[in-house]
Amino acid sequence: MVKDMNSGEKSIFDQLDLLEFSEAELALDGLLSEPESSPVPGSKEEIASLERIKSRTLDLIQTEPAPELPAAVRKPRRRAAIGAAAAAILMAAGLLAFSPDAQAGLKQALSFLPGFGTVLESSPGSQLYVLEKPYTASIGKGKLTVNAVLLQENSGTITLRGQQTPVITEFQADIGGDRYTFTSNMRSSASGDWYASFSTALPGNLELETAEPVTLYIHGAAVGPLVLQAPVTADDLQHLGASDVHQEVRITAFPVRLDDGLVRVELVPALPDSFSAVHSYSLEPLVSWNGLYVENAEGVKAKVEPPSTMVYPSEFSFRELASAEEQSYRVVIPYIEIAERKALSREVVLPLPASGESAPLHITAEIAGYPVEFTRIERSSGTAVSVDVDMNFDPEAAKSLTHFFIRYPGSGDKYSYGWQDTETFPRILKTLLLDAEPGADTLRFRMSEPQFLLKGPWILPLKLED
């Protein structure tokens, strides 16, 4: 509360704190004029603080999806670029959030958007057109894949993936008899492959004949025709696809048959408020002997394709089993990794030994109610410190702490993820590599944004259609 508040003022502060956002928007009209110029840089501390804020913010848009679009989950350790790209796609498309809150108060229909790995909340009767499965064209020695298309009132979004082809920054498309230019708003690339999203403005009264295909014109070549259709729609997520719930996390699978016996599966989560993102569906499992698998009714496992850096971590493909008979499949997800960005950070203070010395520790801290034991500290130089940590990790537990972010109060350094495994799984003992202040006799940092392994299994019987 305000330091110089007098006793007669508290109720006014309380009352105005109750204003709804929409009321406040109007009430504050004209109150805050734009400054005539950029704010003058403040003290060194303020500048360092602003840099930390900027660094954290930019880091998070690189590594996490829009928090209200939990469907588009990414694994920051491997797929930072695609995470940012996908978030851009969704925001450029003007999608509404799909969140548990939205789900709880749902009055609108949910539509699954193939290739975007998410659902869109929209009014019944909204004109939406999507591409059910990717369209791939050969270009020279490489391939160009139209991964996803969403056309809606006022905007269109198309994602392309290039493999050993030149990067595209702009192309044109014939839609409903008119030609539109799509421009790139986000792009990522790795090892000759690239992935990009493109958007354009469309009329507000977009109405297409679903039979009328869309053709793209890229560097003079026609790509298509792309046959669009209305998305699959339902009142709730579990009725959109195969769905299962554990620990309040619902996962719904959306499969589609591709060419060459492959089936693409997109996984869409609905998360409780406390969780902010799914980082992994165990395609690259932390519990190495127990990752995601696909099996038929007899328990025979189908081959899951190795994950690609250019594909969402919520998306994978598997190869159908050779059989004369129609097979039914189910996806089994033994574990998922989730982040709790909203968890309160916790300060840790550890005694520092002299430079060049180490000392045992018996200090336990907690984050989000989970204990973290600091067992040893070594100061290899004046500022370089390593700390051994026992995360009390237990893969048999319903929920077990796996990671946390580290922040240094008062440091100009950006906030870091400074840890490494010491290959002693399943205990998950880590050695944190931290920075001490020169001459300090204590090491002070904060643990924040914990990540957990949640145990399932989530079992999703796929509904495959020819």
């Binding site: 508290k10 309380d14 009352q15 734009e34 804020i53 986000m186």
Partner: protein, 197 residues
């Protein structure tokens, strides 16, 4: 950066196209003021790191929700400040769970009734308060909102408006008294007047 430069920056447009440089620039431009607002709301609870994290969350929210920004309702600066206010209040409630319920349970002095009824009455009271604030003359309206909505200190307001601190206190007191007389909010027993202004 001059005002004209700023006008041409088109923050919402650049946020919509996911221009990351715009996000960095916006943090430079609005960050210090947003940080101060968050610090004022969190005063007495939370750490400096909590405040920084909160400011970062404000800009992430702006980045992720730019599709919801409506320039006909508020300037971009106002919108950012509103995001900051509510992010900071959320964090304060989390850090001090007992806070934020004072009005609901004590000020309106209602011992019975469903939450829905309470919320309805509370909303009615807030709406009426807003109407009267809108009728205050300048600079009193601005003083009032910057004090009670944006948590600015008396010293800050004195400096911003060119008044003495005492004059700011007097004007705010006069506004509170006027609003109290105008609104006459009561609780169920007729005694639950809107606080002790």
């Amino acid at each position: 950066m001059t005002r004209n430069d700023h006008d041409s920056l088109d923050w919402p447009g650049r946020f919509r196209t996911k221009d990351k440089q715009a996000l960095a620039d916006a943090i430079d431009f609005y960050g210090p003021d947003v940080h101060r607002l968050v610090q004022r709301i969190l005063a007495g609870c939370g750490s400096a790191e909590d405040a920084e994290e909160c400011v970062s969350d404000v800009f992430l929210a702006a980045w992720n929700n730019i599709g919801r920004y409506d320039p006909s309702r508020a300037s971009f600066r106002t919108w950012i400040f509103l995001l900051a206010k509510y992010k900071a209040l959320d964090l304060r409630r989390k850090l001090q769970p007992g806070l934020g319920r004072t009005l609901n349970e004590a000020t309106l002095n209602m011992q019975s009734g469903t939450n829905t009824e309470r919320e309805f009455l509370q909303r009615e009271a807030t709406g009426e308060l807003l109407r009267y604030i809108g009728q205050l003359r300048e600079p009193d309206r601005s003083l009032f909102l910057r004090r009670y909505y944006l948590y600015e200190s008396l010293d800050e307001l004195a400096a911003a408006f060119g008044f003495s601190k005492k004059a700011v206190e007097s004007r705010l007191y006069r506004c509170r008294t006027m609003l109290k007389q105008a609104i006459h909010l009561t609780g169920e027993d007729g005694k639950g007047e809107l606080g002790s202004w």
